[in-house]
Structure formats: structure tokens, C-alpha cells
Symmetry: C2
Subunit: 309 residues, 2 copies
Amino acid sequence: MALLIKAGREAPENWIRAFNAAFPDMECRVWPEVGKREEIEYFLGNELPEGEFAKLPNLKLVAGTRVGVEGLLKDASLPRHIPIIRNTDRQRAATMTGWVLYHVIRHHRRFAEFAANQQARKWEHLQFTAPEKLRIGIMGLGNLGGTVARSLTALMYDVAGWSRSPKKIAGVESFAGAEGLPAFLARSDVLVSILPKTPATNDLMNAERFAQLPKGAYFINCGRGTTVDEPALLAALDSGHLSGAALDVYKVEPLPADHPFWGHPKVAMTPHYSCTGSASYGAEGVIEAIRKVRAGETLTNTVDRKEGY
Amino acid sequence: MALLIKAGREAPENWIRAFNAAFPDMECRVWPEVGKREEIEYFLGNELPEGEFAKLPNLKLVAGTRVGVEGLLKDASLPRHIPIIRNTDRQRAATMTGWVLYHVIRHHRRFAEFAANQQARKWEHLQFTAPEKLRIGIMGLGNLGGTVARSLTALMYDVAGWSRSPKKIAGVESFAGAEGLPAFLARSDVLVSILPKTPATNDLMNAERFAQLPKGAYFINCGRGTTVDEPALLAALDSGHLSGAALDVYKVEPLPADHPFWGHPKVAMTPHYSCTGSASYGAEGVIEAIRKVRAGETLTNTVDRKEGY
């Protein structure tokens, strides 16, 4: 039994240490040192060169090291019956939640205006909405979106979520599917997208849908840049329909130096950096999945290839 | 039976509505319309003109509308046996928590640097510490501090608290008393003061104690300005021992226009505005206390006059 690793930025040793502790009988091999291909039962990584998956006859599980799995799904040589799991570990959830909280609170509590007042040496009690009257909408209510939603309800915000199928999270109103989207958008003073990159989310936030948000709404995107029709977002900001946007992800990354987001006074940007994970937390989910595969149990939260996440 | 109100900024009607619903038999009178003084059993407010409390022979409870109760404690005409309660309602706790989270995340996630990079059209992955390796210390672990501490542990930060007596909060290391302070300060990469204004907290954060923080520590104060020796804080910032400070409270408020905090590049300021409450939430605690007084039950969380909060 062996696991093949083609990890991302993090050193493979950090993953291997966790796997060795959990499975002393499992050999860990680092790409491209594959060894005997029939011994490989598990793969950890985000892609392999085209055709390589087909050469692993006993592959039982593929575990991505990231939240997104596009690199794995586009590979036709990865057999359809092999389960794929994404990496949404608790460190990723906590750091993405922190990123979202920062932007929600910055907008709600008018921190940019307080900073300007400090420059002007002006002592002024800028009013803010009571948190229970600020309606926040979370698009995407999986592990990450659910953690974000719960953290916002703890701060007394009025939180709703939108997802493929209805979800039950205490204190969070659930909207689902295409038919639930207009009502969800119409009640979102702050809209947070944590949606994955899939055919269904491509350009989901277009001119029509930005127009369905209440006037003065604030848009936050830490899901994927593909969700946003960027000219439509700029038009909604410039018309005054949206009061601002906080963006971590873009159609093209790195964002080209001449893109209008960089210098836009209503846009706050970070460079695709809303969350971070590490092997020590990511390994927890992979170890749990390998245990289930070995025990013949059914895996939960595997990637739905038709939906793309 | 009557309640006398001398409320702060909020209209007395908002309080009265809640009290009328809870106690149809209780009359609410708004200062200075006191009526028959012997009928007044409860007082809601933050001060009365000197000597007025002594004229209320049947007073059973004093409820402040704010977190701080200095205005009540300095009044010698308020008999020592009358219980005083502070207002730390859940809306105050939630909004103060939001204010603290904003500043912790802004510092931890380097948002000021990301904003500068945006100005420079620079796409750069600024590294940040894993949240579980950032040691945050909360001074003051009452209702407000406890809520703040729990919200930070939910984001995986390494949280400790310092208070008069040891406290048990899941996942929060407890330090207590003068003997616990040096070790607590030495492990606080981010120090958050939510301490009240009392003789014991006056100038608590002086040059010696700032020096006990780790080099590069960040200081956040949304308790009271009296806790801080301001020249010592400025010296610690200017020497580079502290990496920055976020301040909501000051020795003198409004902060004089020539105070060095206004223009200091390492200081982020708001004008004593970290939390807000409203009668609808504040009334919950007052109603509960009146119920207990009427039932002859012992009140919890009353102000300790010796400690001053």
C-alpha cells in the first residue's frame, strides 16, 4: 500500500510526517518517484500530467490539497469512479472566516471613514446600523461558508445563505437553487460569495443580479473570480448601486496592472489570499478518508463531478 | 411601585416600552418628574444630582445604562447597601467583539500593507502567522471580555485572559492577579484591554508593563483610556518595541486636536465608539434584576464598590 504525493507550495515532509504517524504500514512516495504503480492506492495533490492517473490501476482515493479541484476534474484519465475529496480543513475555514469578518466589520462599522477622520483630527461619532438589522447573505454554505455564517450570527448579524440544496444552520435563513436566488439577493445588504469555480457559477454575478441587490449593498468575493462579470461589477459600483466591494479573487490572476480594480476608490483588494491551510490540518481530513476507504465505509463530502465541486 | 429614569442618549420611551410589557403594575417616571419619592424603588441611569439618591427612601436597585458606573460610585448620597448593576448587554458584547476582531485581523492579516500594495498595483502574497501561533491576551474577562475571547478562539487564535480572579473559559488560558500579570504579558503578541476604569487599573499599562510584552507586540484598547500611561505607550511605539496600537479610549475625551495619537503612523483610532447598546437589549438585564429583587432572590454580577466595577 502506498500514497503518492504531488503537493503544492508546502513541503511533502509535513504531510508525510502526519501520514506515517497515522499509518505506519503505508509508504509515502513523492512525485515523480512513483515506484511500482500498482502499489499506489491514494493520491494527494492537485494534478498529474495528462494520462498518469490511468497508469495507477489500484487507485482508490484522490485528495486535493486545495479548496478547488479544477485541475483534477479536467483530467480525463482520472477514472470517474474514484472518489475525490477537497481540502477545506479547519485552518482554511478559520482564516477565510477572519478575512470575511474583517471586510464585513470594516464596511458595517465605517472604519475607512474613521481612518479619514483620524487624518483630519476629527472626533465624530459616525452612526452604524444595529448588527441585527444588517442583512448578510452568504453564497455557498459548505464547510467554509457554514463556518463564516456561524461566526456572523455570533456577532448578531441577520444572516441568510444560498446554496444548491437547502441547508440547516441555526439562526441562518436558507435559500436554495435558481428559484431562491432573487429573494436571497433582494435581502442581502452585504453579499459574500464563497462559491466554487464551476460551469454553473460562471458569471453568476452579472448586471441583472447585481441590480437585484438592495441599493447601497456591499459585495465581498473570496470564492472564485469566475463568478463575477467584472465590467458589470464596475458599472454597479460606478452607478452608486453598490457602495463598495472587497475582492480576493479575479478572472485573471495575478490581476493585470492596468485593471480598473487596482485604483478604484470603492474596491479593497487582496491577491487571492483569503485563506491558508497547512499540512498538519489538511492531513486530518485525508487520514479520516483513508481510514474509511480501508474500512470499506462510504465517504461523505466527496466532489460531485457533475456540479464541479 | 415606580422606576425613575434618567437615561443617556437613548429616548426614555424605548426603555419604558420594555418595562411596561414586563411589569404592567410598575409606573415609569422620567427625571426630573420624580413624583412621590417614597414610591421610587428602582433607578435607571448613570447619575443624579448630588444628594438626590438620599431622598429616595425605598430605593432597592440602581441600574446603569452603560458599561462604566463611575458616575454612580462617586455619589456619596447613594447608600452603600443598594445593589448597582452595569449594562453589558449582548448587543454591546457583540459590537465590541466586532471592533476587537477587526483590529486583531487587520494586524494579523497585514491589511494595511495590502492596502498600500493595492495603491502600488503590486500583487504580493504577504505571509502571515498561522492563527494558532498568534498569542492574544485579553485583559478583563467579564461578560464583554469573555465574549471577545470566545470569538477569537473560534478563529483558532491562541487566547489567554487576565482577570482579578481565575476564570474558566473553554480554550482560554487564565492568568489572575498581580502575580499572574508578568507571565500573561510576556506571552501576548496582541494585548487587548477591556479593563474598566478603577483605581487599580489607573496607568496599569505603563513603561514597565509595555516592556514586558514581546518585541513587536500590538496593543488594542477598548476598555478605558485611564488604563494607559500615554507617554509610555508613545515611547514604546516610537522605540519599535510595539508594532502598533488600535485605540478607542483616551485619558482626555474628546482627544485634543494636538495630541500625538492623531497623526501617529502606528496608531489606528476611533472616538470611544467600540460598542453600542440599545434599550431593547439593555432592558433584558434590568428586567431580570427587578424580577429577582421582587422575588427576594440574590442578584448576581452586581458592582463591587471596593473594586469599582
